[in-house]
């Protein structure tokens, strides 16, 4: 591994920045060693050569003053910075920067839980706080508040939220539950957003919008500033919790399940981010493919049938939960049961029915706000597994669910991969997550996976579907699909970028937004 410097940066400028960064954060926290420090900043599951996203260095500040100093130094030397929080977003590139040679601004050491407010049910955290950290902390102080962990749970609360991540409790739409933000701008200024802009504000984490344009969203999935602190609303522990699972026998049941789930979600009968899970997702978190089929190509129906029998699962498996006092839960469960179990072949399960079932247990925990790593078992589906997630948004209709499912499944199977997917139902949309799992030791398979991913983007866009999040390799391509009216939105973002970060040092290429001096780097 050889050092790659950022474009338009010579060795002298790089060394000048490094010296200033070392002065700001201490020599021990500027990582330059190509053998023992920097490899961990690469995209571990890369399908293309890792050098495409290899950083030149990493800098790990311990506080906001050090972030300011590093950002200012980067501005003086023209060094691109790539901010990360816990760096565990491995389906989308992990800690690696979009631009080769960028310096990773690693905020993991900023891991203070600044406040847990039981009365108003929120927490304030720095970027390095993981779901695991917060869960352990709440347990240790005897808190009656729940978190909403992403799966897997080693991810960062702040990082996941600003990347528009989702979870599985009623607080599953993470950005919706954000309130108050501290941001370091490209010139080193610290800004507090919304109510926090009022000196001595008593409502920074209670009311999201403040006065005037609500700017917090501009700092999510963006490169307009470095978010160093965030307020997150937490769910008060309800008096009761009843998770359930309903299995469906036929592939085409997805249509009817989705149609019936929509009113249950719209009317909050099912309050949590409920999920319709395809059988291979269920299988991949607890079984290995080779125990059912040793050949290449998509899993044959005979093997799928045996998996369903062994795991007592359906082709589709719906997970949801009800919360609250017993009479409310019983009432809502009756409505849910009437609607969702009247589909022929449907079977409903509760906790007592699935003791010892790994697939059930991790879902039960997630819908209850308990972080775990079980979903990472997907990488065990094949030996040496890696993955990228393809994540289009869908309306909550049977027609759209079936169309997206077919669109992805057919192309995936033709390319020789398994469809491993779930549809997470939010307020009025479904996040359709397809986990593309490939063999990290098979270069041809990785190239095929990368090509397939690009084809899926085009096919989805042609049908009117866009993705909500993506891997480093596809940020430009997906940003390019949001091109209505001569890409008016993209041009607006570029104008904002040029105004807020004229030196173009923050996160070049994040979600297809490039600073003027590097705009040609994009697609």
């Amino acid at each position: 591994m050889e050092r790659i410097l950022p474009p338009q940066v010579n060795g002298e400028a790089f060394r000048g920045f490094v010296a200033e960064a070392q002065k700001a954060v201490g020599r021990d926290y500027v990582y330059l060693d190509l053998e023992w420090e920097l490899p961990a900043y690469n995209d571990e599951y890369a399908t293309l050569p890792k050098a495409l996203h290899q950083p030149s260095a990493a800098v790990a500040p311990a506080n906001v003053a050090q972030v300011q100093a590093v950002v200012r130094a980067a501005g003086r030397y023209g060094i691109p910075l790539w901010p990360i929080s816990t760096g565990k977003n491995f389906a989308y590139g992990g800690p690696a920067p979009r631009l080769a040679g960028a310096v990773v601004l690693d905020l993991k050491r900023m891991n203070r839980i600044l406040e847990v407010n039981e009365k108003h049910a929120y927490a304030v955290v720095e970027p390095g706080v993981s779901y695991m950290d917060m869960y352990r902390h709440l347990q240790s102080i005897g808190s009656k508040l729940w978190i909403d962990p992403a799966a897997p749970g080693w991810g960062g609360m702040l990082g996941n939220l600003v990347d528009h991540g989702a979870g599985y409790t009623p607080y599953g739409d993470h950005l919706l539950m954000q309130c108050g933000m501290e941001v370091v701008l490209a010139d080193g200024t610290i800004a507090h957003t919304a109510m926090g802009a009022l000196p001595g504000s008593r409502t920074t984490h209670l009311y999201k919008y403040g006065l005037g344009p609500w700017a917090d969203g501009l700092f999510t999935q963006s490169n307009f500033g470095v978010v160093t602190r965030i307020g997150i609303w937490l769910m008060p522990e309800p008096p009761g919790y009843t998770p359930f699972m309903i299995t469906y026998e036929r592939e085409e049941d997805l249509y009817e399940v989705t149609e019936r789930v929509r009113p249950l979600k719209l009317n909050n009968i099912i309050p949590n981010a409920a999920t319709t899970v395809e059988m291979l997702w269920e299988a991949a978190v607890q079984k290995q493919r080779r125990h059912y089929h040793t050949g290449k190509g998509p899993l044959p129906e005979s093997a799928r049938k045996k998996l369903r029998a062994d795991l007592q699962i359906g082709v589709w498996n719906f997970y949801g939960a009800v919360y609250g006092p017993a009479p409310i839960m019983e009432n809502n469960l009756e409505i849910i049961r009437d609607s969702l179990t009247s589909i022929p072949g449907a079977k409903i399960y509760f906790d007592d029915d699935r003791k010892g079932d790994i697939g059930w247990e991790y879902r039960r925990q997630l819908m209850r706000g308990i972080p775990n790593m079980t979903e990472y078992n997907q990488m065990n589906w094949i030996p040496n597994g890696g993955h990228m997630d393809f994540s289009p948004i869908s309306p909550v209709t049977g027609e759209d669910a079936m169309r997206q499912y077919s669109l992805i499944r057919d192309r995936v199977n033709r390319a020789g991969f398994d469809y491993i997917g779930e549809m997470l139902v939010g307020w009025r949309d479904m996040h359709h997550i397809f986990a593309l799992v490939y063999d990290l030791q098979d270069e041809a398979e990785k190239r095929r996976a990368n090509q397939l991913f690009g084809e899926l983007i085009d096919a989805a866009a042609a049908e009117g579907y866009g993705e909500y999040r993506t891997h480093l390799d596809f940020m430009d391509k997906i940003a390019g699909t949001y091109n209505w009216n001569d890409a008016a939105q993209q041009r607006q973002r570029e104008r904002l970028k040029d105004a807020l970060d004229p030196s173009g040092i923050l996160g070049p290429g994040k979600m297809g937004i490039w600073p003027q001096r590097l705009r040609k780097e994009g697609v």
């Binding site: 201490g26 021990d28 926290y29 990582y31 023992w36 420090e37 490899p39 961990a40 900043y41 571990e44 599951y45 990493a58 790990a60 311990a62 760096g87 565990k88 491995f90 992990g94 800690p95 690693d106 993991k108 050491r109 891991n111 203070r112 839980i113 390095g128 695991m132 950290d133 352990r136 902390h137 240790s140 102080i141 749970g153 080693w154 607890q286 290995q288 790994i358 247990e361 991790y362 775990n372 790593m373 079980t374 990472y376 078992n377 990488m379 065990n380 030996p383 040496n384 597994g385 890696g386 990290l440 030791q441």
Partner: protein
């Protein structure tokens, strides 16, 4: 100072004052970073992966002693599905302590565990 501070940070707020003066504790580091994937049970991805090769001792808690240099390399470079850990997460000195802990026998690990209880 580097190690003392990063250990304190790694272990969270609750243990800050007590760990500022302490040497890195390999077992505590293992619990903080490793058990989420390597505890006992097939719901832990690392354990499920290692069950193929080490069916009698798939959890690192039960594994025969590992060479410290091997631990250092795997932590910093990853292995197959396991991604590497950055020095901002586990410092060099913490990694030494973790490697020492994993180089003890299962019996010794369990002894440490019992003593802690």
């Amino acid at each position: 100072m580097k190690t003392l501070l990063s250990l304190a940070v790694g272990l969270g707020l609750g243990t800050l004052s007590s760990t500022l003066l302490a040497e890195p504790d390999g077992r505590a580091l293992f619990e903080q970073y490793c058990t989420v994937c390597h505890d006992r049970g097939m719901e832990y991805p690392g354990t499920a992966r290692l069950a193929d090769r080490w069916p009698q001792q798939p959890s690192l808690l039960d594994r025969e002693p590992l060479e410290p240099d091997y631990v250092r390399r795997i932590v910093r470079h990853g292995l197959n599905m396991m991604p590497p850990f950055r020095p901002s997460e586990i410092s060099a000195r913490e990694l030494d302590a973790l490697a020492r802990y994993l180089s003890t026998s299962a019996a010794q690990k369990n002894k440490i565990e019992d003593k802690e209880k």
